[in-house]
Amino acid sequence: MKPKLIIGIVAIVGFTSLLMYNFGESISTYTTFEGAADRSTAHIPGTWDEEKGAGFSMETKRFTFFMKDEDGVSRKVVYPKPKPNNFEDADQLVVIGEMRGDIFYANEMLMKCPSKYNDDPGKFVNASES
């Protein structure tokens, strides 16, 4: 075998493993409020717990609501932005952030809305994107 070929193969294998390793690190799994307790960042899918309301507080400038995760556990979620468009409309939410005590601090929120126009109806939209 030519040395060039060997170098090439080593480079490709090295690059691919590094890429796959990093890819594996940068994805995580969807979890629940309970499962989020021991993660620094968690993606939690769920639905808005309508009965407990939702509101934006002018003092803390945070949007607060309760979300039921897939186990049916309802927890308070704090989101540091104004209430996203379509919030009430969303069939499903995914909050991304961390659990502290009984409160989930979301840095990001994705909403699945019954879309009217999209090529892929029901595409998730980033809360801050809609």
Partner: protein, 835 residues
């Protein structure tokens, strides 16, 4: 009835297409151009049927035939003609139709311009892709096996179990569910057609590459394929730009790119197509890279089909939460993808051994090496993005229920790759036009390097860049700009037609610099107090009530009416009220926010909008949507949207107060209980007097006559007061005329003063007394909050430096590609007239 005709036409189109494909196959196999002509006739029939079916769909949309699901789901009566037109391709089925329509027209182009021996096989592969695409629209049901989703299916077919259809099978909705407000934008009208032009054109290099493999002629296909590939790239780039620009000015995430799967779906084919352009150009020049040209041409279209599969099949939603509404096309799309990929790569590897390879390897310092390496880097970048986008599938190697990768995955990998690319663009361009060895190249590059260094250092100082990595990145970006500009200037005098390459690479460099500046140096515009708070958050000094460290910065600001706030030490920002504007959208508020630069620049206004989403709002529940305002500047943009306002809150409270609505706002609910006992205030006015009451001004204009029919019997005094309630925040004036009457009954005098309502603010006015001594009147106003809040608005404002550079880079890329199109197309046309 007419729907059945439409469905039949699509079926006829499919069948004609199938037969055209067979005839093209035979023609290609036997090189028989009589049979090819039959194929052409069938192809034409296919196109005619398809155009007729599209005409019918368009007719149904314009006639508001809501019994058809497609019309019901994507349009409504209030849409203007242009949005009705764009609703044609608003849904999945219609967008497939548009794609095939464009592809069919391109087919005629190929009939005219493609030359033997490629002509027949090219048309065969083009038709093959159309057969698959048409099958998505069939709506056939063969013994329970569903094939395609017809745009002509009725509501009854779509929702056979809907209760309203059970009671009345002939039910036709009076109105459709309409078009999402966010998509009512001219950008979104033209974005899909241009995208599909790109997708359809990207089929052509694939067809040529396959034809080359079939006919074993591996060199000549590149020249005719090149202009098509270039045009496909410009179309995709334009579509990407339109999508990004729309997202920037319409959505509130304040950026043009978010690595969303839908965005990646158009970027990856563009990257691989660009890789193909590089190898095709170098193959034409120096008869190298035959293998990679064919491979890239195949992969670019495979990427189109793969990304179509990802975004339309519902597989992105196969993990627990993403349950996409899916048309059941999964299997068909999978088959399409597998056929395109396996036939493409299969034939490629079948012929691999006999594909020509260069006799000797290229030197490192040669245009061949540089160009092919650049193309490889483009491919690698494309593959990295595909990997990220495929996380629902490939992520399962690592975890169950995988989430999409973090944005940093894309950024971390693309940054070093594009940096190397930037260096290679310059080396490649220098070597492309002249032979250099290491020494002479180094001396030729001294001047561009000097300029690059000076500009980089200046940028680092002026922009206060502290990150080493960013400094290196900036250097690479500038090097691409100035190095290629050097080549451009030299070429422009000698051979202006050949400047496409250097121009494109300048655009690329500008894009790199612009992307870094606009995303890494994006500053929220906040006042001093918030800035201090954010700095404290950054240092980790802020804790919340439970003792946890706060990590979320505050990027919003409340402005009270007419109270200027100093923002970022640069602007005095004043909220000057809002206007209600029903002309564009019912219930829309246009906010007026004045920016006065403190160093004495010209003052300007930002006018963000808030409006209720028509498609999803109703009496009990208003869903507010925001439309940001962007002030575009040469050096930086100001981007601002309204996240909430006292008006919006009042409207929500009003709805919540009627009890029928949902709990809109927990925080205001608390306030409501506090204010349950609305204050009653009695105020005295003389005629013409205006009194400030809370956030209103009330003016007693004068007395007016009371109509005797409205008065009780035996009235001794009956008079009205003409009163204006002025709401300065929205510059609205409500005129009321409460009545005051004194009447006698059983020798007793009674006062009759019925309340007048201003429902907008839930205020009640009573004209309760006349005081003759000073000619004044007493008005009793109930509903005024005792401790009134001034009108306020919550804004989120960002300063985004050098977005203009991103757009400029994009335009220059487009311009560069266009120059190349003219060059290569001009050459092809000459060949056509010769043959």
């Amino acid at each position: 009835m007419i729907g059945i005709l439409g469905k039949t036409l699509i079926s006829a189109s499919f069948v004609a297409s199938l037969f055209a494909m067979i005839f093209y196959f035979v023609a290609a196999n036997r090189d028989d151009y009589k049979i090819l002509r039959i194929g052409n006739w069938l192809f034409t029939a296919k196109a005619v049927f398809l155009v007729a079916a599209s005409g019918i769909l368009m007719y149904l949309i314009f006639q508001h035939q809501f019994q058809y699901y497609y019309v019901f789901n994507y349009t409504s009566l209030d849409l203007t003609p242009r949005y009705l037109f764009s609703a044609f391709y608003g849904g999945q089925e219609g967008s497939f139709m548009l794609w095939i329509l464009i592809s069919a027209f391109l087919g005629f182009g190929l009939m005219k311009w493609a030359r033997p021996p490629y002509k027949a096989p090219v048309l065969f592969f083009m038709t093959l892709t159309q057969v698959f695409l048409l099958s998505m629209l069939l709506g056939w049901d063969i013994f329970g096996l569903k094939l395609g989703a017809s745009p002509f299916r009725t509501i009854a077919q779509e929702m056979p179990n809907a209760p309203f259809l059970q009671t009345n099978p002939d039910f036709v909705p009076t109105d459709g569910s309409g078009l999402n407000d966010l998509l009512k934008s001219p950008w979104m009208m033209i974005h899909p057609p241009i995208l599909f032009v790109g997708f359809a054109m990207m089929t052509i290099p694939y067809c040529f590459a396959m034809a080359a493999l079939w006919k074993q002629k591996y060199n000549e296909w590149v020249s005719p394929a090149l202009p098509w590939t270039l045009t496909a790239n410009v179309a995709l780039l334009t579509a990407i730009f339109l999508g990004g620009y729309w997202a920037y000015v319409t959505l509130s995430f304040g950026g043009y790119w978010a690595w969303d799967p839908v965005e990646n779906a158009s970027l990856v084919p563009w990257l691989i197509g660009t890789a193909g352009i590089h190898t095709m150009i170098i193959q034409r020049k120096s008869a190298v890279a035959q293998k990679s040209s064919i491979l890239f041409a195949i992969l670019a279209y495979v990427a189109v089909v793969y990304e179509t599969f990802l975004t339309r099949s519902g597989i992105l939603g196969s993990s627990s939460v993403h349950s996409f509404v899916d048309l059941g096309l999964y299997n068909q799309l999978l088959a399409f993808m597998l056929v395109v990929t396996l036939v493409g790569l299969g034939l490629f590897f079948w012929r691999y051994k006999e594909l020509p390879s260069p006799e000797k390897e290229s030197k490192v310092l040669s245009r061949e090496f540089m160009t092919v390496t650049g193309a490889m880097l483009l491919l690698i970048l494309g593959l990295v993005i595909i990997l990220g986008t495929s996380s629902p599938i490939l992520g399962q190697l690592f975890v169950e229920n995988p989430t999409p990768p973090e944005i940093s995955f894309y950024n971390n990998w693309s940054m070093p790759i594009v940096m190397i690319m930037a260096i290679f663009t310059v080396l490649g361009q220098f070597l492309f036009w002249k032979k250099y060895d290491a020494e002479s190249l180094a001396s030729a590059l001294i001047n561009p390097l000097l300029v690059t260094s000076v500009v980089t250092i200046a940028s680092i100082i002026i922009g206060d860049v502290r990150n080493l990595y960013y400094m290196a990145y900036l250097f690479c970006g500038y090097f691409a700009i100035f190095g290629n500009a050097w080549v451009l200037v030299r070429l422009a005098f000698q051979k202006p037609k050949l400047t496409g390459g250097s121009l494109t690479h300048i655009g690329f460099g500008l894009l790199l610099v612009g992307i870094l500046a606009s995303s890494a140096y994006n500053e929220p515009l906040v006042d001093q107090k918030t800035a201090n708070y954010n700095a404290a958050v950054e240092r980790g000094e802020v804790t919340d009530e439970q003792g946890f460290t706060v990590r979320q910065k505050e990027e919003m600001l409340v402005l009270n009416l007419n109270e200027p706030v100093l923002i970022d030490d640069r602007y005095m920002v004043t909220y000057e009220g809002y206007e209600l504007d029903n002309s564009v959208r019912r219930g829309q508020q246009n906010y007026k926010i004045k920016f006065e630069p403190v160093n004495g620049g010209k003052a300007f206004y930002m006018q963000p909008e808030v409006y209720p989403m028509l498609t999803s709002s109703n009496q009990e529940n208003i869903q507010w949507s925001v439309d940001p305002d962007v002030r575009t500047g040469l050096l930086s943009d100001i981007y601002l949207y309204v996240g909430g306002s006292s008006y919006v809150q009042e409207q929500n409270d009003r709805i919540a107060g009627t009890g029928s609505g949902m709990m809109q706002n927990a925080a205001t609910q608390d306030q409501d209980t506090l204010n349950n006992d609305p204050a009653v205030q009695a105020i005295n006015f003389t005629p013409g007097q205006t009194i400030d009451v809370g956030k209103f001004k009330i003016r007693f204009v004068n007395y007016s006559r009371a109509d005797s029919t409205e008065l009780p019997p035996n009235t001794t005094i009956g008079v009205r007061a003409e009163v204006e309630l002025i709401h300065p925040a929205s510059s609205r004036i409500f005129t009321i005329d409460p009545l005051f009457a004194v009447y006698s009954e059983d020798d007793q005098s009674y006062i009759y003063s019925p309340p007048s309502w201003v429902s907008e603010f839930d205020l009640e006015f009573q004209f309760t007394q006349i005081i003759p001594q000073d000619n004044s009147i007493e008005l009793t106003v109930s509903g005024l909050e005792e401790e009134y809040e001034p009108d306020w608005v919550l804004i989120v404002a960002d300063e985004k430096p050098f977005i203009s550079i991103v757009w400029a880079g994009t335009f220059i890329l487009m311009a560069g590609f266009s120059v190349s199109i003219f060059r290569h197309w001009g050459r092809e046309r000459k060949k056509n007239t010769e043959s």
